[in-house]
């Protein structure tokens, strides 16, 4: 069973520790991106994962590519060319200071890729699942068309489509997002939507925007998830991460899955967050892994949320854990013991 993910990979530059950019003469470099993160995680969990993107034919594109290869991702169809690798600067927050991102992604090789560069029949020749997030169609009209073409191909060839709505307010407006995503949702089998995603990308109210009490709004989430399945009958499953975020370090997390009309909730995890990024991608990968291995629904959402909170303890965009690490978290007291 092979999964293909499709999206943009960027260079992340981060000052050491919690430093601000203005006081930094060193940046840590990491390479990632929502769909790349999912592919890497699936590969580290033992699955066959391929990634599709376009990377510049320079040393930075080569390095991004080598990162994917390092973790076992199939990069055979990655396009090379274009002008640059997108970059983002990442100031890790602390306590009352929010994490801050400066994007420098305009003009990237992927952003300027043409839809005609993607030869879907070849790309999908041995693919069993297709995964993308809302970021990909948000990047450009060409990529929106490319995603649509991919989804259509999948529909025609019975390849299930998984989509993490992943709304990015710096990339498009709710209006444009809804126009695009409401169409794409017709191809989606499993939809992942968190927090503001419901309203921003689907126009469905499920969360009031207060990140400090997402879990407290679980009923509204459930109603929103049901509405998703009502509007998009092909969408059989909807999954969410719910969070009460009290500060940069301190939060509670739980998973919620609607499947075949049934809700499955996980325990709440109290987490001390080391780096609050890409936990959604880890969740998505955990869920995909559960699908690929036919975990039952409760185990599936348990596995996904454990993968997600584990990511909060890993630096960089990639969830560098194996299945045994996730299983350890799923057991009570996973964080407590030192095995020696």
């Amino acid at each position: 069973m092979k999964v293909l993910t499709f999206g943009e990979m960027m260079l992340r530059l981060k000052p050491l520790g919690n430093n601000r950019i203005i006081q930094s003469d060193v940046f840590e470099a990491a390479y990632g991106g929502a769909e790349a993160n999912v592919a890497v995680s699936l590969s580290l969990l033992g699955n066959d994962a391929a990634y599709l993107t376009k990377l510049p034919a320079n040393l930075l594109g080569e390095t991004a590519l080598s990162t994917l290869r390092k973790y076992g991702v199939d990069t055979a169809n990655v396009l090379r060319g274009g002008n640059r690798l997108g970059i983002y600067f990442f100031e890790k927050g602390a306590s009352v200071r929010s994490t801050n991102v400066v994007y420098d992604r305009a003009g990237s090789a992927f952003a300027e890729a043409r839809q005609t560069e993607f030869d879907w029949p070849t790309i999908f020749s041995d693919v069993d699942y297709f995964y993308f997030s809302g970021i990909t169609p948000a990047i450009s009209a060409e990529l929106e068309q490319a995603v649509t073409a991919a989804c259509q191909y999948c529909q025609q060839h019975d390849i299930p489509v998984v989509c993490d709505m992943n709304y990015r307010g710096k990339m498009w407006s709710p209006e444009r997002a809804q126009a695009v995503m409401s169409t794409l949702m017709n191809y989606v089998t499993l939809c992942i939507a968190n927090d503001e995603d419901f309203e921003a990308t689907l126009g469905i109210k499920a969360f009031d925007g207060d990140m400090s009490r997402g879990i407290d709004q679980i009923d509204a989430f459930k109603e929103g998830m049901l509405e998703v399945t009502r509007r998009y009958p092909g969408c059989k499953m909807v999954a969410s991460v719910l969070r009460n975020i009290r500060s940069v370090e301190d939060s509670q997390w739980m998973g919620l899955l609607l499947s075949d009309g049934q809700f499955h909730e996980t325990n709440r995890y109290n987490v001390h967050v080391m780096e609050g990024v890409a936990a959604g991608d880890a969740f998505g990968a955990g869920l995909m892994h559960s699908l690929l291995h036919q975990f039952d629904h409760q185990e599936a959402i348990n596995f996904a949320i454990a993968a997600s909170v584990l990511k909060l303890t890993i630096s960089g965009d990639l969830n560098l854990v194996q299945e045994s690490d996730i299983r350890a978290v799923m057991k009570k007291g996973g964080g407590a013991s030192l095995s020696r």
Copy 2:
């Protein structure tokens, strides 16, 4: 509106992370000092800020000076000469282990400066506010005289004087502090006093010394603040940071302002402290900024305490934040969101 601050700038040497000196072969270098920190913060908030000190005419003095310039502080009147830059070694604590400071400041260029080196009419020619802390007169008798002369000049020329009492038990005794500060207070318009400052520098009991329950003693603080205004009628405002400190990382903070006989309290902030230094200077700068921009009293103290708790998330002595960062903290849930 231009603010002048007057004090000593030192080199801070800190082992990496929470390491102890004995296990360190690397020190992080940072340059700061109470009044320099205030000047930098005011400048970063968009104000015209000048700093007065004396720095040695060597590469270390040059580097301290360049730090001030980097953040836009006017250093035109900084004196150069003398023997050395004061140094302090800083072991950051953790949990039950307190932060530990080894001072090596004797014989510094500033400590050995003569009062006659400061030409106040020139220095104050375009200054609208004067700021100093109790550290400056504690350094030497010459500097005590210099501060006094500056205050007298300010009184004669209607330049308001702001003083953070900033008691340092390693520098002088309560007796000497009270002898000096009780005189200087006659020139002060806005007095900042925290914790032990009331008793050690003014002989006014307002806090019992238990840092784990400063907020709990708010009534005693209020009584102490009122007593300050009774004793020093020229002092129109008294401001304090109140804290319940449970461990090196874990504390609650709030601000309290007495102004025109009215008290203004802020919310309590639960903070996970990254580096517990110079938060008082950030508070002073926040308050000064509020004065310069004529925020109302409640907004002023709200702004000041938000600036202060934000400093707890920044490494080094300088509060490297802009007004928008402080405003984000002032809103509920400031620490929770990642804007992307």
Copy 3:
């Protein structure tokens, strides 16, 4: 009063921060081992401490030796020779992710040492106390014989023997551990046993294995400790660290001492753990220091637990603190104040 400790010293290699090995191109190097840690701590507390081990005659053995010397440990009897220094790789956990250790200690100089290499009469010529942990006899049959010979020598020469049971499930089974330790316990005057040690090394049930509620089982611990003294009448004191561990960072710690049939309990410490290793060795050293200086029993256990929780704030295996640091923790609010 001179203490001799006997055990293995290893090189610890740790990725920076909380990084995983797969993402690390740098390792921090530290040298330690249970009994070496005790010797260093005793030396830093001002005691005369000697350490006995065997180190390879290469640059790594030399560096391990120099670490001991740096902290004042008497290394005059350390043997040199053999093939290699044992190594372990250490991934520091975070939040829900447990700390992870990869051992690479087989074939070390110490593991392959012969019992006949240790000339006990010479080694013990000026020694007043002997300290070892259960790790030493677990390493090899030769070392088990060496420890036995050392204990017999001590018994014959009235040198009190202190043993930290220190069960390591990766090194031996409970069956083998019990066979060996139940014999060695006949020589032991002061026994330190934590958590699983009671059952794994002595076959005495005192703890149900749930690290999140060790303190909650204090009554079972007490019963276990009494049973130890019943079985081994020569063992006059039994000491334990009890913990409620909620996550990698968040735990409560307390000490418990049974001495002359009386129990002495300490306060509970809430600690934010920086590095959760070698706190047991710090506890043992604190207890030894208390014995050497004849602290009363309550002060002894108070001192030991304060030393132990302080270690949780120090990186590396060695408890790099002085008596004044421990005394500061013993006072209420030790973690709160910054002395300046």
Copy 4:
């Protein structure tokens, strides 16, 4: 006497040491650019130096700006706005491996600036010298127009114009360069041209392209320099750095100045190059400093080449030296002594 320099400032990202990008998870960050480097150097040499550019209104633009301020450059007229700060990745070569640069500068705030944004009468109000390099007009047609307008303003107001030809083959072709530079040269008083600059920007043959024997071609250089003054009578001085480069580390450098028809040559310096960038900017700044302080012609070129070779020992783009450092190099054996 105030100098204005005009050009682009970029973020330079460099792997540690001589590492390649593909093996780097850390980049050193430095901010610079040909004309910014000149302004910083002039300021550090004690001159009044202003810099004109456009920087984005984000944290990276702020950091670039703070770098200029740190070294005392007047940034009052720097424009803020646009999309991004230009970046270049820098792999430092070694021995037979050339230094390698990956540019990522398209779409920068400066590259997209409009000529109308530069208000020359205000900008030049207190300026005595104008300095730019051939990079600035190479960036865009708008900037070419801006430079032309600036030069015309200077001509009308008797402000001498200094230009370092600074040909960059990755930015424009010799044809376009010659079309533009041959016009701009009509405004130039002092022209700096090295190596390929003569031919690529002026169509004058003075060097055969073999970097290993630039000094050996001194006669051709002289002929080229004379031709420059023949073609552009307003150009009173032409200066060059001549080099025999044997490897990344190993080279010989000398300066050559044509002034009032006379040639002035310096000694040859054997240099062990630490970082072979921005030495031309250091040369230009050294020459400007000589002009500002009216050094005689021989001293001027001696000073400039010493400044230039000194830059080869400094990491980053900025020549962080003072006049005394340059004077020490000018003396024989400058590199040999340790003053203590």
Copy 5:
């Protein structure tokens, strides 16, 4: 055309810069090994390269494996299991101080692998060339048998065998080396032998042991190479790197190839060595690449020596260069220019 290389991969731990182990609390980690280096280099040059070894099923084995994958090496047949990854500690020399290596490789997964674990028909199913070095049979008798079996398989299936003699005096004696290698040489088509290799592994005198004048002994080398072809008629090509090493940094290098009875010599390279390891593996990979692409003999040796001296500028064991980098070195003055 696919190449298989077979050997051991180890973790290299190196103090920063030129530090000694005793002064280091940080080690840089790199993964490599003679045959792994060749496989990585071939892959980076665009070839299909597979690597065969056995790695432990722990995080270190995983990391070694991920390094191979990162650079595109086919690891499908790598065995997992055994106890540990071999380690070596590497003190980089400087000037008169030689580089120093402390091996800690005993008991590694590969060293304890059984010959029966290697299923040659499967492993060689799509392989066109086989490469190993003398290190592999030196590790154990089992591996000697494994190499022999592999060679026999190659002989039977017309797969050319390439061997770098790579004598390691710390691993076996000349007597044992000669006994083994003289047999294996009967299968070898292309033999690479440097310096002491001729005598130590083949008993052929070609070099007197003075590394400061290897090039000066070129005639003796030629005689030795001819003798190799006389003794082993199946060996059609013999290649060597000749060096005059004056100090750790300073040396001259040239290549020499005997092919079809003809000698092909390269120019001499003066190199400033950054890290003098694995240059022989880079040479071997360069030669293999030349074979795979049917370069003529002179170009082949030119390419190989350029690849080799380029490695001296790269840190770590792997020659992280592309063909264009090698071509740049092959041109005169490759180290001199900065392309921008």
Copy 6:
């Protein structure tokens, strides 16, 4: 045979690599001092070495002390107290840029020590050799008296006195140096004098001050050395390091020993200098080691100069080498080989 050395130990703070202070936010910390360096080197060479100084009773003094212990130096008589540890900032030069030192040593514990604090009979109770350098009496009049008292004690008890003249122009004038040293020389048995030492401390002309051609002046050195023995008949041996220093990295070194009226010269070493400090102390230690082990005179000076040039490859003040390392350099081509 035990050697006592007597002098000041300081903290050295050095920017990374060749960085300048103004661009550094990190300093490497190392502890050393001329006589401490000699003691450490003697200890590492296997000798019994004691060190006498006064260190402050704070964490920096403790760390300096622990450095001595780490390398096996006997610190039993080190005094504790006083105000501070002396510091110096060290900018490592490169090529034409000289190394630059900023001293911050005034007011150190040692500089303010009183001569009466040194109890010579106790200190010398088991000492066989006494070593000091001219730095010690240069620090203060009290220390000059202390050194004199020590020398007198040695004379009375037949303890040979070794002195490295070690002139420091930043500490005293030639006049004061000569007044003091000409007296102390009456107690000295072995005198080490380099470069300017002859003239500055003894008023004997032996070197013209041109560091680029010290070796070229060997005859003048010889004459100066003879003059030393003529003036001070008790001084049986005079030793010098002669250097031709061409740049920071590039120099030639040789040793010269006058003993019993005979001169012994070493070969010249071409060295690529990594860090040009404390090579004189390494030379002194090498010579002392030769004396202690009764090497013949030629071997003694050969050993000393090899130790000295080896130090040029070690970072920090301490010559972290063993006798085998020095012996390897003594052999021809020591820098060339890699043993593996």
